[in-house]
């Protein structure tokens, strides 16, 4: 009994895991913050202390705001399509008349999620190709020539084109999460609703949505944080271009650090990304905690 109350011994057991966490997670975060106060390059070991200059410069840098805006767009579109549309798709797939075919649709929706992002990115680059891409060819085939557009080449449409690809890839994943969630809802609820004469839409709003609330919160968190961490899609499909129009925070950080060799500046961007995702996670924890208390 004493063993379970002895904090010293408990600490001893936690210590190895704690040490690993400290060394590999917390220390690098701290170190990154320190690095962001210097002007330094990977080429040389010389570091010049410049205080918060990197942050001041960052807040004046127009590219930072383009990147931030793109991340916000990414996150909001992801919530709308992945969580919103995903939930609707899951509810439809769970309808009685579709149950029989559900495994087929589930697989179809999930397949994009298992394709590597690089492959998917190149695939979509071809889909968007202005001359031979299936989108423009399709538009021309049905006589909508004037809608054909160099999607990725135009700074106005490029970021949306990348976002669309992400939705294609990850909606199926969220759908799967929701299907699992809906499975857990007691069938009796639907039955009694049916007896009361509720239609499908009413059942969706009054039973499905409240019952999978927890899952919705989890999915929203996943997609928002994903929206702020996005890198590969942009890097593969546009490289941040044309111009800087599809730059997101992490590609901006990558470019500053490894292309322009301004490690201090990149560290400052990394700190900002950390702060944003950290705050979002805190918010999520708070919301789900509140729910538990109720």
């Amino acid at each position: 009994m004493g063993l379970y109350h002895n904090k010293k011994i408990a600490f001893l057991f936690i210590f190895p895991a704690l040490l690993l966490m400290l060394v590999f997670i917390y220390y690098p975060i701290f170190q990154n913050f320190i690095y962001s106060m210097f002007r330094w390059s990977a080429f040389s070991s010389e570091k010049i202390f410049i205080g918060i200059d990197n942050y001041l410069r960052l807040f004046k840098d127009p590219v930072f705001y383009i990147a931030l805006k793109n991340n916000l767009l990414y996150a909001s579109f992801s919530i709308f399509f992945q969580v919103g549309l995903g939930l609707i798709i899951a509810a439809i797939l769970e309808e009685k008349f579709l149950r029989k075919y559900q495994p087929f649709f589930r697989t179809v929706f999930f397949i994009p999620a298992i394709i590597s992002i690089t492959v998917a990115g190149l695939l979509w680059q071809l889909i968007y190709n202005p001359n031979i891409g299936i989108i423009n060819e399709g538009l021309r085939a049905i006589g909508l020539d004037n809608l054909a557009h160099p999607w990725l080449a135009d700074g106005k449409t490029a970021i949306f084109s990348v976002i669309v690809m992400s939705q294609w890839q990850y909606t199926g994943y969220i759908v799967l999460l929701f299907i699992v969630g809906i499975h857990k809802i007691p069938q009796e609820l639907y039955e009694s609703a049916m007896i009361d004469g509720a239609n499908s839409i009413q059942k969706f709003w009054t039973i499905t949505v409240p019952q999978v609330k927890e899952m919705i919160i989890v999915s929203v968190t996943i997609t928002i944080i994903g929206g702020f961490k996005v890198f590969d899609e942009v890097y593969v499909m546009t490289g941040g271009g044309p111009g800087r129009s599809t730059e997101v925070l992490s590609s901006f950080m990558y470019r500053s650090g490894f292309r322009n060799d301004e490690m201090g500046y990149a560290a400052a961007i990394a700190t900002i990304i950390f702060v944003i995702t950290f705050l979002l996670t805190l918010l999520e924890l708070k919301i789900s905690h509140k729910k538990d208390e109720v």
Binding site: A42, F43, S44, Q125, M263
Partner: protein, 460 residues
């Protein structure tokens, strides 16, 4: 905490038993901790002997391993280097060369990252110009002047103009592998069908483009998703429109002003081609390789390509015949009209290498007459070794290309490797936006001037 209320026998026994159990558990815990400590100590300890063994082995057999990083992961190129290494290791049984290859875009990042660590490759690929200067100025690259002076045979067999861009403050820091230049490659069938000939001046060029467009062919293939492709046009146009002494001063980070009007004109010339519809649609989202395919299949009439790509063109071109011409001269341009856009690339040796002599020996071997000729025959690359490319072993197009290179006054190095990286990071993506019509050439050059000023302040 535990508290016993009534000291009866039963509870006494219970207490005893609990006490024993407690001791037992404590002993168990102590055992566990000891075990943990011992294993961790063993873990640490076992490392040392292993390390000693490795060192001992190296000591006894005298086998030296040098790391070699190049930028051509394609199978054919990799096979060439593997052959060179095998031959070299046969000659030098005490040296083992460990090769690694990463692509063009990736190596820019990889080298920057590696320079900050101690795991630098002994021999690494580099473009010439500002890209190489970065390594030189940060003392990451070994001074090879002495090695070159000692072995005059070696020095004399390498093209002088190819060594030049690897020189800094009169010292040589790199060994060029191949030279390179940029030409417009065109489809002769399409030209003949429209009664067109190779243009020599910009006006003739515009005429050719207009005729091609009227005939329903897309005149030029262009893949600018990574903006270096557009930057190669600007490299040539800048050098034809900006006086040479001003351009050289501007490209040096210490004196960069970029205030000459020629820079704006250069962008306008390129923009003019875009506005007139001479490029394929959506070039800013198309990869260079995809654009080449359009040229091969005859969808487009020409493309701005590098000499080192000629081998592939010859193999994959689907029409009957192809030819090439340099960027046409601009009659009233203020720059030198007899320059050619291009640059050598090659290898540098890390200043932190433990085996400088072995690394130099390998580079000497790589740039020997035999290996130079092999580079020409197997890959069709214009070797920097003098005479490696000759009538006996090279295709006529390579010889013609090399001749054009020799006739040119000088080479204009690629803009993106010739100016400071931070300037090119504004210049190149900005170019995409200008071509998209979202920024004016004047606005872009203003941004370039600002960043050039900042770079100057930061460095000096």
């Amino acid at each position: 905490m535990y508290f016993c209320g009534d000291p009866s026998i039963g509870s006494y026994i219970k207490l005893r038993r609990e006490k024993e159990m407690k001791m037992c558990r404590a002993a168990f815990t102590v055992c566990l901790i000891v075990l943990l400590l011992v294993t961790s100590l063993v873990g640490c300890g076992s490392k040392e002997p292993a390390h000693n063994i490795a060192e001992g082995q190296a000591g006894t057999s005298d086998k030296v391993e040098i790391k070699f990083l190049h930028s051509w992961p394609r199978p054919e190129a990799n096979a060439y280097f593997q052959e060179v290494i095998t031959a070299f290791e046969k000659d030098h049984p005490n040296i083992k060369v460990k090769m690694e290859a990463v692509g063009d875009e990736a190596i820019k990042d990889k080298l920057r990252v590696m320079m900050g660590t101690n795991s630098q490759p002994d021999i690494f690929f580099s473009w010439s110009g500002e890209f190489a200067n970065n390594f030189i100025q940060s003392n990451n690259s070994l001074d090879l002047t002495e090695a070159f002076e000692k072995d005059t045979d070696w020095k004399n067999r390498i093209t002088r103009s190819a060594i030049e861009p690897f020189t800094y403050d009169g010292k040589i820091y790199g060994v060029p592998l191949r030279t390179n230049a940029k030409f417009f490659v065109y489809n002769k069938d399409i030209f003949e069908k429209n009664n067109l000939s190779e243009p020599r001046t910009w006006d003739e060029f515009l005429y050719v483009l207009e005729e091609l467009k009227q005939s329903g062919v897309t005149p030029i293939s262009f893949g600018n998703i990574y903006p270096w492709a557009g930057c190669h046009y600007i490299t040539g146009l800048n050098q034809k429109l900006v006086p040479e002494n001003i351009r050289e001063k501007d490209y040096d980070p210490a004196g960069g002003e970029f205030s000459h009007y020629g820079y704006i004109e250069a962008i306008e010339y390129l923009k003019d081609l875009v506005d007139k519809g001479y490029f394929n649609n959506g070039f800013n989202s198309i990869e260079h390789n995809m654009a080449i395919e359009m040229f091969y299949s005859g969808e487009t009439a020409m493309m701005y390509l590098e000499l080192i790509e000629f081998g592939e063109v010859d193999k994959d071109f689907k029409g009957n015949e192809w030819g090439f011409f340099p960027l046409p001269a601009i009659e009233d341009g203020k720059g030198n009209q007899n320059h050619i856009t291009g640059a050598p690339d090659g290898f540098m040796i890390s200043s932190k290498t433990k085996y400088p002599d072995e690394a130099i020996a390998f580079l000497k071997f790589l740039t020997s007459q035999e290996m130079g000729e092999k580079l020409v025959t197997t890959l069709g690359w214009p070797s920097a070794v003098i005479g490696a490319l000759n009538e006996n072993n090279a295709e006529p197009y390579l010889i013609k290309g090399m001749k054009a290179l020799e006739e040119a006054d000088d080479m204009a190095l690629w803009l993106d490797t010739d100016i400071h990286i931070k300037i090119s990071d504004v210049y190149l993506p900005g170019l995409q936006e200008v071509l998209n019509g979202r920024k004016t050439p004047e606005a872009l050059m203003k941004e370039v001037q600002e960043i050039a000023k900042k770079v100057k302040e930061e460095i000096y």
